[in-house]
């Protein structure tokens, strides 16, 4: 069901790219960029990502209004869990964020829900909840100030930050 949706979205984007590639050069550039950095409307690029350690990305991304972890997100979180198991003295804050296309209060709740999705996954991989604090910023701290789908996709995120 879920996969089906992602597959459909990918197809849609591919079709959109094909259509766009027939247009002016500028549009072509944009479409190639988006194609490389989004799947469905989940950000898959790397230019905002930082690393907690080698091979351990600090953040996962979400679809609009969603808090479901993608396959890539689960992979990232497993790497974080492995790293946290090796560094048992480190505690983390999971900072949940939303994009600007929602009302402020709902987005605060949505950011909390996203960070908790990440927290739950870390816990299933053996990280104690004592080591994890959840903090929602709603739409208050975007990483990209753009008003476009790509910028919004970078902003819908949960970022794992060292607390000590």
């Amino acid at each position: 069901m879920r996969l089906n949706k992602i597959f459909k979205n990918t197809l849609l984007i591919l079709t959109a790219c094909l259509v766009l590639s027939a247009c002016a050069t500028k549009q072509q550039e944009v479409s190639t960029e988006i194609k490389g950095q989004m799947q469905g409307d989940v950000y898959t690029g790397t230019d905002t990502v930082k690393y907690l350690a080698d091979g351990v990305p600090d953040r996962v991304f979400f679809a609009t209004n969603e808090s479901i972890l993608t396959t890539a997100s689960r992979e990232t979180l497993r790497a974080q869990a492995a790293w946290l198991r090796q560094n048992s003295s480190i505690n983390v804050v999971l900072e949940g964020h939303a994009d600007e296309r929602g009302t402020r209060e709902y987005n605060l709740a949505l950011g909390e829900r996203r960070a908790n999705a990440a927290k739950d996954y870390l816990m299933t991989y053996g990280i104690s909840s004592d080591r994890i604090t959840v903090l929602s910023y709603g739409k208050e701290r975007p990483v990209d100030s753009g008003s476009n789908p790509l910028a919004w996709s970078k902003n819908r995120r949960s970022v794992t930050v060292k607390a000590n």
């Binding site: 209004n65 808090s67 600007e100 296309r101 929602g102 009302t103 402020r104 209060e105 709902y106 605060l108 709740a109 949505l110 909390e112 829900r113 908790n116 999705a117 739950d120 959840v134 903090l135 929602s136 208050e140 701290r141 975007p142 990483v143 990209d144 100030s145 753009g146 008003s147 476009n148 910028a151």
Partner: protein, 446 residues
């Protein structure tokens, strides 16, 4: 202290027997009433004294400007240019020559005088019906000179009430969030100002993120969200003393606070383990009560004016929609069924409508619907706008609007706007910095 207004005497009661002018406020500003606001007369000695105390050259003129500006921004009145006035303020206040005011097409006239008596500002004013050649109202009051702007607002409220039959909303304040800096690192402070944008004052320094301040309808208290020590919590702030305290002892984020209509409770959301529910805290006995219990996000609660019901938004149906329930959390009913997402419901002070934000096909709308969800009316559409707050008489909504940035992510701004319930008279409200999350106070004087 600033509330110490003494209405000294009601000089004349309005005559009910005549067919006097009336303003219909239900149809928008199609025919604003032509009104002349004569500068308040002032004697030379008082003028000099006020100049010394307040550094204002002609306080009579300034007060009349406040009245004029208020009446104009309501969209219901068309204040006439003072250059066209034929009668001097002092003579007009004694006995206006109605032919002269008729000549410049004024239908109503405000006159008055102001002086300094025992260190106090004393003002009297009269409202005249020009066509009927009658006095409609006369009032006098005294206050401390520093309250001179409020004098203008109170006159405006009395005139508005006399001519429309409804209470005014000019002697009020707006609390909001002042914003500065880049979009990715906004600095936010609580700020307060008079309804007309004057007397702006910052209440916090900007060291921590603050959001969604809301007035207590019965006192000078404010509830808001602060990220103090990186813990988003609901706080209570006394504007007059500056004291603040955290509300309740919740093991997680509390947000979306509002007061109950009697000012005795705070209703808010508490987020834990990915779900947000609605709670209240009694400010007297500190008892916390759970109102909703659902795995979804329940937030943005707002009481009906009689305190019997609560409206809120929830995504329990899968998407953000508006619900109402009894104030104890029973009998939850969804009321928004249109296309799109619905949020930030706020119950009108009159009780008959709920204002909301709607997101549909990439556009944001401010709208109103009846409390059963029928009669949805969208007042304004934009790239981004939300968080309507009602004027105390339920006639005007204030909200904030953000602009789209350009391809480089530049050009962001956030401003306060107001619009009439009729959908007319949309206005940008001037603030010294960018602004968001406005909340309208009750009338300061009654």
């Amino acid at each position: 202290m600033i509330r110490k207004f003494i209405i000294l005497l009601l000089i004349v009661f309005p005559f009910k027997a005549f067919a006097l002018i009336e303003v219909d406020i239900t149809r928008g500003n199609l025919n604003p009433l032509p009104i002349a606001v004569s500068p308040l007369a002032i004697d030379e000695k008082s003028k000099k004294n006020f100049e010394n105390i307040l550094q204002i050259e002609d306080i009579g003129y300034e007060i009349s400007n406040i009245v004029e500006n208020n009446l104009k921004t309501s969209g219901l009145f068309n204040p006439l240019n003072k250059d066209a006035f034929l009668q001097a303020p002092d003579i007009a206040n004694l006995k206006p020559r109605f032919e002269d005011w008729n000549l410049i097409k004024a239908q109503a006239l405000i006159t008055g005088k102001v002086n300094l008596v025992d260190e106090k500002l004393r003002v009297e004013f009269r409202l005249w019906d020009v066509l009927a050649a009658k006095e409609m109202m006369a009032l006098a009051f005294t206050t401390v000179p520093n309250n001179w702007r409020r004098v203008g607002h109170i006159i405006s409220d009395k005139v508005y009430e006399r001519l429309t039959g409804e209470k005014g909303y000019f002697d009020t304040r707006i609390i909001y969030v002042a914003e500065e800096g880049p979009k990715t690192q906004r600095i936010k402070k609580l700020a307060i100002m008079d309804q007309d944008g004057f007397n702006n004052k910052f209440l916090t320094l900007g060291n921590e993120l603050v959001l969604t301040p809301r007035f207590n309808p019965t006192s000078q208290m404010v509830t808001y969200l602060s990220y103090f020590k990186n813990m988003p919590r609901v706080y209570l702030l006394d504007i007059e003393t500056g004291t603040q305290e955290v509300v309740g002892d919740f093991p997680g984020m509390t947000f979306a606070p509002r007061f109950s209509p009697d000012g005795k409770k705070i209703i808010m959301s508490f987020a834990k383990d990915g779900k947000s529910d609605i709670f209240t805290m009694d400010l007297e006995n500190r008892i916390v009560e759970r109102i909703t219990n659902h795995p979804s996000i329940d937030t943005s609660p707002s009481y009906s004016p009689d305190g019997k019901y609560i409206t809120f938004n929830s995504d329990r149906s899968g998407y953000q929609q508006i619900y109402i329930m009894n104030s104890d959390g029973t009998d939850i009913k969804r009321i928004s069924f249109g296309n799109g997402l619905y949020g930030t419901p706020v119950w009108s002070p009159r009780g008959d409508l709920i204002a909301f934000t709607k997101l549909h096909k990439g556009k944001f709308y401010i709208g109103v619907m009846r409390t059963d969800g029928s009669g949805e009316r969208l007042l304004t559409e934009n790239y981004y706008q939300e968080a309507p707050s009602w004027s105390p008489n339920g006639r005007v909504l204030i909200f904030y609007r953000e602009t789209k940035t350009n391809a480089k992510g530049e050009g962001f701004s956030a401003k306060l706007w107001s619009i009439d319930l009729t959908g007319y008279n949309e206005r940008k409200i001037k603030t010294p910095t960018d602004a968001s999350d406005p909340s309208w106070s009750s009338l300061l004087s009654n």
